[in-house]
Symmetry: C3
């Protein structure tokens, strides 16, 4: 018996968005194409369309993240949905209710969509495997596992600036080991046909056998950045510093922080990306973050359109 | 001079919903009948009707409860109201403003409805006695006193499954002493004509002279559950354990936890209810909570419709 | 080169509302006149007009204030805007993101308006000087500097009760030193032509050289209140007590608390104002706060209309 992709329904359409791993290129491209039309909406005077009118979207954040929560809230409201933000960390969970009881209760309130953020890898999958077929789940980040909407908005940004995925060199720089963003980006890039994906990091910040994901490993910025078209910088969480045997943020910046000098090793028209929030002076120099090759704020803008696309596609399936 | 029922206006219509005590059966039934029409709305594709459009509903939660807050927020938004959630515990109160000053201020902002949750019994009554006649107050739980919308959704659930109140045996099981839910349920059940209401609890979890409420007292599940049509389980707050001379949750479960075995003492078609959140393995076994006699998730669904009914009736009076 | 007023756009219209200082009387009056029409809206059955439909308003509160936040949220929702509340104190800032990075990110999400509250004077100015020309900033209180919407609602209230600014004696009583409200009121009153503005406070609660703002200084309520038409009481923050060499709230009340007796020194038709929340028995006696000369709750009502006016004027410019 073939185990069905838990993200697709019986007719092969997107039922949940849990990870970019295993999603066919056709679906990734459907999301990017749909998002194109929403970029226009967010630039209009009345930034609202009635696609999700009367739908109840629940932001279930078991891990606090105002920033990501806000992007989903904006996307849902611009689609005219009713949005309910539940900071679950401080509510029912503290009364001892299980994750699935919480989800069952909200489902019984006729929820249409759950946007789930959780410290534990697999939380969104667990919820998706449990809900009725008329409910859709979006993974907004689970543990070290996946952050598919971030990866999708990154793909959207790359396509906007570079048009074709099939002749690009892309480097992902920084804490690959702990990054759900990196993992989701790698899957999306390879599926969309990027011929060369590099990861650049100290050994201590790389997962074992990372090459199996189809990437080329570099420990040195000078070699790794040579000739790349796209630089995807990762945020360095301070608490990771020690495990990585890094004595200080200054030390990290010296070897892996992106400066104008290091950037000059890449293609002259290379773009610089970062998922935010920025650690200026740690993984990226301010001159680069605010420089003319940076597309960091475009990522934010496109993030709303991509999340609107995901929500509207799910609601229609 | 006859003291007027503070919940009714001069023409005998519902002005505030503060408690099920003293509410005539006609009004309880009006709420249940109105809720029937809203069950359909919550199942529709566009779960929204404009009955409260342009009205300002304030959720005034002096005691945190994400779960109850969410149900009222959903109900109000599905009626198209503007909803404002005020976690008052952490705001003006800490600046030394009195309860009534807070209410006066929000009233001056042209509030239409207050949904009030408070640790102290009587808080919602105090507010209701104070506001102008065009403002409506709903008690969402005050101290040990009352939780009328929970009782009403329970009545709705019972009527859906058992049709007629007038030939039922109902047992309420657990911490009656500290439960505003139990108190509100007992008043509603007796008003609606249930001929036999039983309470089953250890002596330490029963109020003095509870028989005066018109209930039959049992300390033993085996005797108390015999022949009942409806089992209403109560949540056991862990902090109550000590006062009840209960050495452990396991001990409580042994005597008062609902298992499939104990449930078999009731009528074969008896339904099992619980206000949530569940303490699995304390007051109820998972096999029962998730079993085919459980209507616990239906309670949640009907809870939205009942709260929509209360809000729309109040707004129309 | 003349430094342009940062609150006005190139054609002299209101671009941001940051402070009442330096705002021409024509603009102050435009806001008051526009607010008149919104008083009617808040009294209607459907308290909603579509002026800001599809606009994204962000309440950026770096300092918690449920009360002020709620007034802006109500105003924005009654104008049909999509409102996003960001308690920034507990989010990105704690991840080390700078104020301007936060603002850049939200701007990239196509924000239309920021309502900013910050502990530091000048925060709203900094943001306003930074955003693109299609984004509007409203200062909802910055440090000790300014609180312009409070001053404007106070002006609106005075005009409603006293019609003409040009023959009034107004006294501001209390902690002038730490009060952004007092500062914003003084600028608005003098611009609108009030011929005599008095401040009444102990020396320790007055800024150095306060006379330069065009006010008359009194340390004694008996002399200061004589013949005034409007009394604007200020809230005494408990933490200021010590710096003011005041041994206790009782002591402060004795000298500067407004009682019915002291009030009788003013004009018989004088009105009593307070920005709230009240410290009953500290800066004001309950008999006065709830008495027939008090217009404190009218201030609250007019506050919604004035904030709607500011938002709708900004959105139109």
């Amino acid at each position: 018996m073939i185990s069905r992709n838990p993200q697709l329904n019986r007719t092969g359409e997107l039922q949940h968005l849990l990870t970019t791993e295993g999603l066919p290129a056709t679906i990734l491209l459907e999301i990017l194409d749909t998002a194109e039309s929403f970029v226009g909406v967010t630039e209009r005077d009345v930034k609202k369309i009635p696609l999700l009118r009367g739908k109840s979207v629940f932001n279930l954040f078991f891990e606090p993240s105002t920033r990501t929560l806000t992007t989903f809230e904006i996307a849902a409201k611009r689609l005219s949905a009713d949005v309910h933000n539940l900071n679950v960390a401080v509510s029912s969970q503290s009364k001892g209710e299980t994750l699935l009881d919480t989800v069952n209760n909200l489902s019984a309130m006729d929820a249409d969509m759950f946007v789930v953020r959780h410290l534990q890898s697999g939380a969104a999958h667990l919820i998706a495997s449990h809900v009725q077929p008329d409910i859709h789940v979006i993974n907004a980040g689970d543990g070290r596992h996946a952050h598919p909407t971030q990866a999708l908005l990154d793909m959207f940004t790359i396509r906007r600036y570079k048009q074709d995925f099939r002749n690009l060199r892309v480097a992902i720089v920084g804490d690959i080991l702990h990054s759900r963003v990196a993992r989701s980006e790698i899957h999306a890039l390879t599926t969309l046909g990027v011929p060369e994906v590099r990861v650049i990091a100290p050994k201590t910040l790389l997962p074992a056998k990372v090459e199996r994901l189809g990437v080329h490993v570099y420990h040195d910025m000078v070699k790794g950045l040579k000739g790349v078209d796209v630089l995807m910088m990762l945020r360095l969480q301070n608490e990771r510093m020690q495990g990585a045997n890094l004595p200080s943020p200054e030390e990290y910046f010296k070897y892996y922080g992106l400066t104008q000098e290091k950037l000059s090793l890449a293609q002259p028209d290379a773009i610089v990306m970062h998922p935010g929030p920025l650690n200026r002076g740690v993984e990226i120099d301010s001159a680069v973050a605010d420089g003319k090759q940076s597309v960091i704020l475009s990522q934010v803008t496109f993030g709303i359109a991509v999340r609107m696309a995901v929500m509207s596609i799910l609601a229609g399936n």
